[in-house]
């Protein structure tokens, strides 16, 4: 009874942040599909911006206008805003997947600086507000596959990672890009737990980072990134397991040697540098052949088959031609 009463108290809140935008969103996707089909025939263009603005939720979280990039719209059913923002792995705020939503309010995403440095001609410290203006913001709907065996479909907002790389002008020595997350104990209670060697660090090979799919991300669901999703800026690399997409970035560093990355330092036999989504290469402790789509699979339908490169093989398979993906897991 008590629980029911609580739900009623919070009812208004839920209706605004979850149900309304979701309904608008699905409506928009119908429009988009039709528009996409028309655009494909060359008859009309797609005015994505107006549509995206329409979809912006009016609840907490600042709106962020973006143009939908129809080349990067997964046709899967989008996961609810509530699930995307309440089920997160972000160990800086605790190891339970409910922890980030509870604890990340202590993160201060403004003001925020990101240092772009290393083997480049144009080293620069960017303000987050400059990043947002580097290129027109795009909305892209990507599948996200977690190494733990679950997945979501998320409407991200960001700019191609290549935009910031081009401006940095990498030298010939820049073979890899390293991404470093904030590690401030006053903002991140999870840092008191030395599970990982803080700060969180991730990396990509240069050609992976330049791939058009790699997104420097500042928002989702028409809003600025919620703290628990890696505010104010993160990367999203949809063909790799979720942990490769580092959150709350303070440093982008160009290096010659393959950088140390947090999870492969923690358990080198379990988490490789590449960590491409691959149903044929199991994690040593569990199968990667299937996944549970959050909000869809489980009670009424079995888990679904995981796709090679999370279904992005057309765009990225060429990056790994000739490589043994079992050895380079």
């Amino acid at each position: 009874m008590v629980i029911k009463h609580k739900r009623q108290l919070f009812g208004d809140d839920i209706a605004r942040s979850e149900i309304t935008p979701r309904a608008l969103f699905e409506n928009r996707r119908r429009v988009l599909r039709a528009a996409g089909a028309l655009a494909a025939t060359g008859l009309v263009g797609v005015n994505g911006e107006a549509l995206a603005t329409m979809a912006s939720p009016d609840a907490k979280g600042q709106k962020l206008a973006a143009t939908t990039n129809t080349k990067f719209v997964a046709m899967d059913k989008v996961t609810s805003f509530k699930d995307i923002t309440s089920y997160n792995n972000f160990y800086e705020f605790g190891t339970d997947k409910a922890d980030p939503a509870h604890n990340a309010h202590t993160l201060r995403p403004r003001p925020w600086k990101i240092s772009v440095e290393g083997e480049i001609k144009n080293a620069k410290v960017y303000d987050i507000d400059e990043i947002v203006k580097l290129a027109p913001l795009e909305e892209r709907i990507y599948r996200l596959r977690c190494v733990e065996g679950w997945s979501m479909v998320i409407p991200w907002i960001g700019i191609p990672l290549s935009e910031i790389i081009k401006r940095a002008q990498p030298t010939g020595n820049a073979k890899y890009v390293q991404f470093i997350t904030l590690a401030d104990p006053s903002q991140m209670p999870g840092l008191s737990d030395p599970i990982l060697d803080w700060p969180y660090s991730e990396g990509l090979r240069m050609d992976e980072a330049m791939n058009p799919l790699a997104l420097l991300t500042v928002g989702l669901y028409g809003e600025v990134l919620p703290n628990q999703n890696g505010a104010p800026v993160r990367i999203v690399v949809p063909w790799k397991y979720g942990f490769k997409s580092a959150k709350s970035l303070v440093k982008i560093r160009f290096v010659e040697q393959q950088p140390k990355t947090s999870w492969s330092e923690y358990a080198p036999k379990e988490y490789g540098f590449y960590s491409n989504v691959n149903p044929n290469v199991d994690h040593p402790r569990w199968s990667q052949a299937t996944e549970r789509r959050i909000g869809e699979d489980g009670f009424f339908t079995p888990k679904r088959k995981t796709l090679m490169f999370n279904g992005y093989g057309d765009q990225v398979a060429s990056l790994y031609r000739g490589m043994d993906l079992k050895a380079n897991f």
Binding site: K97, I195, A289, I294, P302
Partner: protein, 221 residues
């Protein structure tokens, strides 16, 4: 360890007759308490409170409550001996059966909603994840204990009932190992350590009782 007198119900003893007026309501209370974890899951399910991954929630919740009921069941004998409250023994069967009920829910959630009865996937999972084999063994070992829990079976089996039900000790050790191993992936060992300590205390008490009785026997001879 526990003597045969632990086993046989003694309805004729003084404590039982004098306490009969509170035992029935207490049994009802324990029964309702035992249903609380299930009621919580159902209520949260109805109100959409199971989170983004309800199957994971139910699996973890039913697993943890199994461990809670195993610990409470194991605590009956030490608490009875320390307090002299012999009537506690009359709650042990129900507590043990609740442990079995929640492990059955735990197991069903796994083979049904997680694996959809895909035997091959389950076998592969067992090979990949030894903690599943450990948990599965604990579940299988609990089945004969649940089956032999009725009073008629207790009477029929006599002393062998006691021997059979000593299986609870390896079962609870396997359960802790299963939980520990599952949580080790994230180094999140706070709960396994708490439950592990409780089990160590409960088993150590029995070992010390057994040792003391051995020493006493030695003196007698």
């Amino acid at each position: 360890m526990a003597s045969a007198s632990d086993v046989k119900p003694r309805p004729a003893t003084r404590s039982a007759t004098s306490s009969a007026n509170w035992i029935v309501p207490a049994k009802v209370a324990v029964f309702l308490g035992g249903l609380y974890p299930l009621a919580r899951i159902v209520l949260l399910g109805v109100t959409g409170g199971l989170g983004a991954n309800p199957i994971e929630f139910i699996t973890r919740s039913s697993g943890l409550w199994t461990l809670v009921f195993l610990c409470i069941t194991l605590a009956v004998t030490p608490v009875r001996r320390l307090t002299g409250l012999n009537a506690l023994l009359r709650f042990r069967r129900m507590l043990g059966l609740f442990a079995f009920f929640y492990v059955a829910l735990h197991f069903t959630t796994y083979i049904w909603f997680d694996k959809w009865f895909d035997v091959l996937a389950i076998l592969k999972d067992i090979v990949k994840r030894p903690f599943i084999l450990v948990g599965f063994s604990a579940f299988v070992l609990l089945i004969p204990l649940a089956v032999t829990s009725p009073k008629a079976m207790v009477r029929k089996l006599g002393r062998r009932w006691q021997t059979l039900h000593s299986l609870i000790y390896p079962i609870v050790v396997l359960a802790i190992l299963h939980f520990w191993w599952m949580k080790a992936g994230k180094h999140d060992l706070i709960l396994p350590k708490i439950y592990g300590s409780i089990v160590v205390v409960l088993l150590a008490w029995r070992v010390s009782v057994w040792l003391r009785s051995r020493i006493a026997q030695g003196r007698a001879v």
